[in-house]
Amino acid sequence: MSRVDEEPEPTGTGDEAGTTAAFTALLEDSAEELYESAPCGYLSTLMDGTIAKVNATLLSWLGLECAAVVGRVRFTDLLSIGGKLYHETHFAPLLQMQGELRGIALEMKTAGGGRLPVLVSSVVKYTSGGEPLLIRTTVFDASDRRAYEQELLRRRQEAEQARAEAEQARMEAEQARQQAEADRGRLADALAVLQKSLLPDALPALPGLEAAGYYHTASPYQLGGDFYDLFPLDEDRWAFFLGDVCGKGPQAASLTSLSRYTLRSAAHHAPEPIAALTTLNTVLHERFTNGGDPRYCTVIFGQLEPQPGGHVTVRLASGGHPSALVLRADGTAEFLPTPGGLLVGILPTAPFATAETTLAPGDTLLLYTDGLTEARTGPARDSLFGEDALRTFAACQAPATAQELITALSGLLESFGDGLDDDTALLALGVPTHPPTRPATNRPG
């Protein structure tokens, strides 16, 4: 279906002559129209700048009436103050010299008080005699371009700011790293002090007995849970203990502290080894059974009582702790087994095992924590040092004074390298073959 009154398209299917005629008519018709409604502003001025002709596009951009402009104002009157200055100092002199200028950025005033960024190109028209006659000027609206430039500038500023912020962050991270390093150092110092507080500052000097202790710390950032002590019960008798609390870190340290002071005070009230362990068991069990993980320790507690002839009787009790070892003056080494003693603190009442021996001159008793026997040895660090190897090692040292034994064992611990990943405490008590000329005291290592 088609409409009979429909006009044919100008470039439609008519004959060729008709098409050309229509096309020409269109062009002729558009000359004035093109000037007035062009997508850019046009204006012509006299050589003094007085506006002689201006197109509708520019007038509409500026919001001005033709009658108010033509013959009444100069081009510079349409410019902003900045634009006017630039025009007079650069634009006009250059135009006069070169006869043309292209793409100069200026700012025009609008009737509404706004600013219109424009790009201006001007050409001087000369008479046939070469005299300048008038200036033809084209004006392009550069708002979009200005916006684009401003956007570019803004992005550049943003990028610059981001770079500055990144640099700032890098500096802050570096400061934080230095701070963390300093904090780590302070923490290690604090932990070392705390760790020392869990051990006797120096072992006391005992009459007729030599004592030596050693403590190996697995990590400067992790408090260990091994402890030992040696102290007088009365004028004749002495007490000692060595133990290992479960776990590591501050909780283990507080348990260590509690265990150490409980055993110390228990020893004075009821010096029998089993009684001291029973008191500790009650304290730990009451303290830690109410919720949370079980907390316990293994410990050997013992009493030393001098006998005539320089002999010393040792009576000890063990709660789940590895057996003590005795090095004899005859060059042998044997365990002092305490089977059946239970971990301290896990049951309301616990069985503890006792053992007794006499140290003759030249004999040395060794207490240790399982860091020593559980050290991983071998090329692949996949086998345990173990109790048999310890006894063999000790037999090789025997007879040895307490200090000689501790020196040999600390060398052994060092030889384990990274196979030794647990804290290890050692306490040796030996009867000298000859009374010492001066009391031997040893600080923990």
Binding site: P294, G320, P351, L384
Partner: protein, 109 residues
Amino acid sequence: MSLLKITRRDAATGPVLHVAGALDYDQAPALRQQTAHLALKPGQCLVIDLSGLEFCDSTGITVLLAARQQALAAGADIALVAVPPNTMRILTVVGLDQVFTIRPHADSN
């Protein structure tokens, strides 16, 4: 050190946890978590099958003790089965061989 692998099955008497790998400072907490989420009923027996256990240190012992505490609190019992010799030696040293019910095989009573 191999990774800890815990598998659970339910027997007529209660849950059975098969533990393989190492119960050490780094990995023992995984078993602790697993046992903490068991809903044990009175009269049941939690069986921990240690036949695949390669290493157990004091942290592992702590976790086993925590499981025992939890079982007893629920009115249930706990048994360790197929304890490897190394771990048995440690359990004996610390006296826990008298505290835990220890059986040679998972299906023995």
